[in-house]
Amino acid sequence: MLRFIISRLLQAIPVLLVVITVTFMLIHSAPGGPFSAEKAVPPEVARALEAQYNLDQPLWQQYISYLSDVIQGDFGPSFKYSGRTVNELIAAGLPVTAELALYAMLVALVIGISAGVFAAIRPNTLQDYIPMSAAMLGICMPSFLLGPILILVFGIQLEWLPISGWGDIPGDKILPALTLGTGYAAYIARLSRGGMLEVLSQDYIRTARAKGLSERLIICKHALRGGLIPVIAFLGPAFAGLLGGSFVVETIFQIPGLGRFYVTSAFNRDYTMILGMTIFFAGLIIVFNLLSDMLAIWLNPKLRQQARGGN
């Protein structure tokens, strides 16, 4: 297993290098810069600013010095939030976004798996069609539409739940988590239905039935483990996607998370901020993919033993 982890982490290095290079070149080739504003700045001020952030140097020199900073774990100072480093800003926003993503993931897993398994037990009946149609709706519904609808129904009409903020009023985390999690729940429902249908048609399920086991035991003990493998493979990219995709939800519900910075920095040409966030998310995707692969290996006895042998 150790060998597997190390080789995967080594493979991540060129991936990250490509991400850094491509992002660096792209943002520098985009028109405008961090200090170009509608109101003209006196040329000497602009020059001074550019010199302060090394923007007057040739591009390749900027690239090299940026790269050497990144290797030391320093994403540099933000161009727009003066006096604060990118590291500080990420550290400030990450806990909130991570918490939101975690709740959304819980919502997605609980709703998604139960709906998928429920549907797979009786395929092509109403018990299948109803949750699967709901899932289709969930996939099609963008969060900028679902969020306001939830606010309207549960916040304004029924007055059950608060409609904005994060951690200020009890219950204000429910609607954002639901909004962010629903799309993923729908996707997980479809994956777990597919996985369960596949497993339920296997010979060993017939064997379990012929042994006289109850349907509940067959589903929970014999089918679930194999049936959820597609879901587990999806968990890694999903979690990274939740972290990165929380921008819309954070905006709707006024949540001080990471997503906000990501989008504003792109509008502001905040070079270091964009680069820092992109590298950070790329790293997250790599780590979460690795984690979900490790989980999938651990759940499969055959692969687990091979992995153990690899130590």
Binding site: D203, T207, R209, A210, K211, G212, G226, P301
Partner: protein, 537 residues
């Protein structure tokens, strides 16, 4: 009174293409301690019959349209799903064909074994995990698993095929059922393992006094194990009698056809192999694979120093059990799998020294027929496209003559010219194998490797395809390497034969000489394990 008495069982499948009468008015009975064999080819309804007894059929599309299945005074077809749970495993148990797919790969053998005990539908009969473990280990010992104590915690993939089937049998017997249904329990196993499992089933049946329903397509297997035989075809009973009567004085035409289709005895007409004229010389071929799955890089010696000569015009048999390296050797000879060392000299040219581009002109002369005609034909190509492709690619035909050439090929392999625009799924297994053979002979090859060409086919179809192969070899002056695990088939069509075991060549020689006097112990074991449809043996 019989233990199980089935009367006029009817099971229909309601599909989009209409109603399929899978089982149509089938009646039979099994007494205590008796063995009934249900025999038939694929699609005969033999498995459906037994699955319907335990309510294991997928419903829909299956519907039990009528009949009574009286098990000890209780109608199985009418009992509630809760009552059925009590019967399954506890009174009637089942063993399935493929022990690999029939065991849950995520749970240990032991866990699967004790489930019927610890989750017994009757809560008063439930055992504790510890007591169940002791009982399961005793039973594993009884079915011949060595070191049952430690193997209890193994996963199915750590067991060999034969051991898995032993564990499967233990699982079926753990709650002491009175009726055991075996659905092709040895079909997925090698012939020597098959002999062991059949012996075990027979022995357990005696010691535990269970009735057995034994489903099989193989009359040879049935002859050695059954008291009574029921022959089915397309859902209907063809014949039902004691085993002795069925084999010696069968009345139905279908049973006669089945019995006559079993390959028996020596090759009728020897090929006119020109003595001394060697077409292919295989010298010290070694094909090793690196096994990446294990802890460290293990070399798998699939073919380990094999040498043989194949003479022009002969059919050379290559026999061995699964994993013996016979297919790898076949592919290595055709340069489809890179060899580690050795040489393959084909009429004076060492094929191993050629680059892949240099091999190209040799390809039309060297062809291959694969085992599974379902998987080896492209489902998106019509018969015409499948047959025309090699003709055009190797310039055997041009655009003007290709249609005519394809029709000639269709005639040669016995396919109807009118089905030239059909897709593979529209054909039966035997017809598909005819297409595959047609594709192989399209380029007028000199040498064909036939890798288990009849193993996926029913016995009557197998007989037809073997006849076709023999005829083509003679008409077209072909030389063939015929790979098979089925010794009777090999004997009936091969002039000479080589036996492989664990990548090594054990013995080779004239087919009849080897059959009469096998020198090596492994060959003797193989020959003894062949089940024969001859009751006298």
């Amino acid at each position: 009174m019989a233990l199980l008495d089935v009367k006029d069982l009817k099971v229909f499948f309601h599909t989009r293409n209409g109603v399929v009468k899978a089982v149509d008015e089938v009646s039979f009975s099994v007494d205590k301690g008796e063995t009934l064999a249900i025999v038939g080819e694929s699609g005969s309804g033999k498995s459906v019959t037994c699955y319907s007894l335990l309510d294991l059929l997928p419903k829909p599309p299956a519907v039990i349209e009528g009949g009574i299945a009286n098990f000890d005074g209780e109608d199985l077809l009418a009992c509630s799903s809760d009552r059925m749970r009590h019967l399954r495993g506890n009174h009637i148990a089942m063993i399935f064909q493929d022990p690999m797919t029939s065991l849950n790969p995520f749970l240990t053998i032991g866990e699967q074994l004790i489930e019927p005990l610890i989750y017994h539908p009757d809560t008063t009969l439930r055992l504790s995990r510890k007591a169940a473990r002791t009982e399961a280990i005793n039973l594993l010992n009884e079915v011949g698993i060595i070191n049952a104590d430690t193997r209890f915690d193994s996963y199915p993939h750590e067991f060999s095929g034969g051991m898995r089937q032993r564990a499967m049998i233990a699982m079926a017997l753990i709650n002491k059922p009175r009726l055991l249904i075996c659905d092709e329990p040895t079909t997925a196993l090698d012939v020597t393992i098959q002999a062991q499992i059949l012996k075990l089933i027979k022995q357990l049946q005696k010691t535990r006094d269970v009735a057995v329903i034994f489903i099989s397509h193989d009359l040879g297997v049935v002859a050695g194990i059954a008291d009574k035989v029921l022959v089915m075809c397309e859902g209907k009973t063809q014949e039902q009698n004691t085993t002795k009567e069925v084999f010696n004085n069968c009345t139905s035409a279908y049973t006669k056809k089945l019995l006559s289709a079993i390959p028996k005895g020596a090759k009728v007409k020897a090929s006119e192999a020109q003595a001394g004229s060697t077409l292919i010389e295989v010298n010290h071929v070694k094909t090793y694979f690196r096994d990446f799955s294990g802890s460290s890089d293990v070399l798998v010696k699939a073919v380990d120093d094999v040498s043989l000569d194949i003479k022009k015009g002969e059919i050379f048999g290559l026999v061995g059990e699964s994993g013996s390296g016979k297919s790898t050797l076949g592919r290595s000879i055709l340069q489809l799998t890179p060899m580690t060392s050795g040489s393959v000299v084909y009429s004076g040219t060492d094929l191993c020294t050629l680059e892949s581009s240099q091999l190209l002109p040799w390809r039309p002369k060297l062809q291959m027929i694969f085992q599974d005609p379902y998987a080896s034909l492209n489902p998106r190509m019509t018969v015409y496209e499948t047959l025309a492709e090699p003709l055009l690619y190797h310039a055997v035909a041009n655009k003007k003559t290709v249609a005519q050439q394809v029709q000639k090929l269709m005639d040669a392999v016995g396919l109807d010219r009118s089905s030239v625009l059909k897709y593979p799924h529209e054909f039966s297994g035997g017809q598909r194998q005819r297409i595959a053979i047609g594709r192989a002979i399209a380029t007028n090859p000199e040498f064909i490797v036939a890798d288990e060409p009849v193993s996926a086919l029913d016995v009557t179809i197998q007989a037809q395809i073997l006849e076709l192969i023999l005829a083509l070899v003679e008409q077209r002056n072909l030389t063939m390497l015929f790979i098979s695990h089925d010794l009777s088939v090999v004997r009936s069509i091969c002039d000479r034969v080589a036996v492989m075991h664990h990548g090594k060549l054990v013995e080779q020689g004239n087919t009849e000489t080897i059959w009469a006097k096998p020198k090596m112990p492994y060959t003797q074991e193989l020959l003894q394990a062949i089940p024969t449809a001859d009751l006298k043996r």
